[in-house]
Symmetry: C2
Subunit: 278 residues, 2 copies
DNA sequence: CCCTGGCCATAACAAATCATTATGGCAGAC
DNA sequence: GTCTGCCATAATGATTTGTTATGGCCAGGG
């Protein structure tokens, strides 16, 4: 049998007592009635005594339930207090350097959520060339950089591998000879990956130095391109796994400026970035 | 993202900090190191900041971690306090009337566990005839009765259906004509169920008024019998589903003497009985 | 200098848990 | 009587969790 109470169950219990009914508590918690019913039964199992009188009118706490209520409320309030204390609203500034492909993905959503959570803080996202990124990092305008490992301005604190996949523009024949390819025009690690991977004749159908340009070219049916899965429009997925050679993974890493060690806001952004890939 | 902390995660965190190492904390918690590692990462996700510095030597709390520790310890101690208060060691006496088949099953183990948990309480299990049971119930020597619904001395507070299965004694031929059957000699609801279910010639090979007698007869290869699955030795299972007709379910129910409403010990025993069937 | 051992992180899979939909029973209102 | 609102249960599917099996990293000792 469980040795600890569970805070979620305590919240369910308190809500049910306040609501006087499991069904109503369920809706205020955004759950279904059977789910809550099961949770309360589980809690009763942990405590070892019935906590609620059930009737057709609703529920009322038993003797044991009444004894539990004050503890439950205290634990719940301590829980939110602990959270607001340790992850209290942050202030300051954090510059984040991102690979453009990452900036386009749901990562920006994550960062925007974070910024909304901390109205006193400013978040800035930068997508620039490797050299500019290094400069911004050295000058302290950017504290975190998430990019391909060789391009990082400092040692990676952690890394993560992501696959590349082929995106096939509308109406493009993947067996065409030569194969029309849409490329990033920057010196980018996977531009070379694409070129080295292709084992048959190909030609550059279009080049762009920005992801939106590449995506537009794909939508226009100009050719095929290598993307991270996050940026792949499902309609452009390549369904025949053998039509094009398998692309290598890219290794992304996060560099953090050493002077920012222990800064809560930078902590929070780093944790959010990491969590976005879990 | 989760809105509450989780007590289990707080315990993991505190243990890790105290142990100075995730691995050691894992062994003291009886878990594996990766499991704990994941839990701590999840907790960091909820808080939004790193809580531990990881190194090859072990872990030490970060600034945020140090802030969290006192909250975590307070919540943990409140949690155990709430449990010991609401499910504190009980005293008193509780008589439980059981169908013999139930007394033989793991249910006795459950009740023994409960008794060990509450050294100041005495538990008594009674397996007697329906009439004696009613008498004991009326006189207050038995507060809870778990039996077939029609045999209960009071209205059932809850019920549960259990299947009956055929047990085939060692070496018994289930196609024999007439089929040798081992029966309870008491007037028992499923004695009649067996008789009514059998759709071909049969004979009473052995009768006993106790479950151990029936089991002994089965082991001796005297015939087949109907049992609850809990009491079925796997070696006696009937493997051919069509060899014998399907037996009906039995409906068990729990009656509780009305005068015991709210008594903590009786509460605890009732909850334990119910939980044993969940 | 290269092992070796302790530490943590990750991956992949298996097991357990959880929430949902779909029911049914029960009691009071109409 | 039939409704209506309540709770409980069953069954299924999704999610979560824990496990084993690895690999990388750093420090200490040969």
């Amino acid at each position: 049998m469980a040795r600890d109470l569970e805070i979620i169950l305590l919240r369910s219990f308190v809500t049910a007592v306040r609501a006087g009914s499991i069904s109503r508590a369920a809706t205020t918690l955004g759950q279904t009635q059977p789910a809550l019913s099961q949770q309360l039964r589980k809690l009763e199992g942990v405590v070892g005594r019935p906590l609620l009188h059930r009737s057709a009118a609703g529920v009322t706490p038993t003797r044991a339930g009444e004894e539990l209520i004050p503890y439950a409320e205290r634990i719940l309030s301590l829980s939110v207090e602990a959270l607001t204390e340790t992850s209290r609203v942050l202030t300051g500034h954090c510059g984040v350097g991102l690979l453009e492909d990452l900036a386009a993905s749901r990562l920006s959503q994550t960062l925007a959520d974070l910024a909304r959570l901390h109205p006193g803080a400013t978040l800035e996202v930068l997508c620039v060339s490797r050299a500019d990124m290094r400069e911004a990092y050295d000058e302290g305008r950017v504290q975190l950089v998430l990019d391909e490992v060789p391009d990082l301005p400092g040692p990676p604190r952690w890394t993560i591998r992501r696959p590349l996949v082929w995106a096939v523009g509308a109406g493009v024949d993947v067996t065409a000879d030569p194969l029309p390819v849409v490329l990033f025009s920057n010196e980018c690690a996977w531009r070379t990956a694409v070129i080295e991977t292709l084992d048959r004749p190909w030609r550059v159908a279009f080049e762009s130095n920005s992801l939106v340009g590449v995506l537009a070219a794909l939508r226009a049916g100009l050719g095929v391109a290598a993307l991270m899965p996050e940026n792949l429009d499902p309609s452009m997925a390549c369904h025949d796994p053998d039509a094009l050679p398998k692309l290598p993974d890219v290794e992304l890493g996060l560099a953090r400026h050493p002077r920012t060690e222990g800064e809560p806001l930078i902590d929070a952004v780093e944790t959010a970035l990491r969590r976005a890939f879990s």
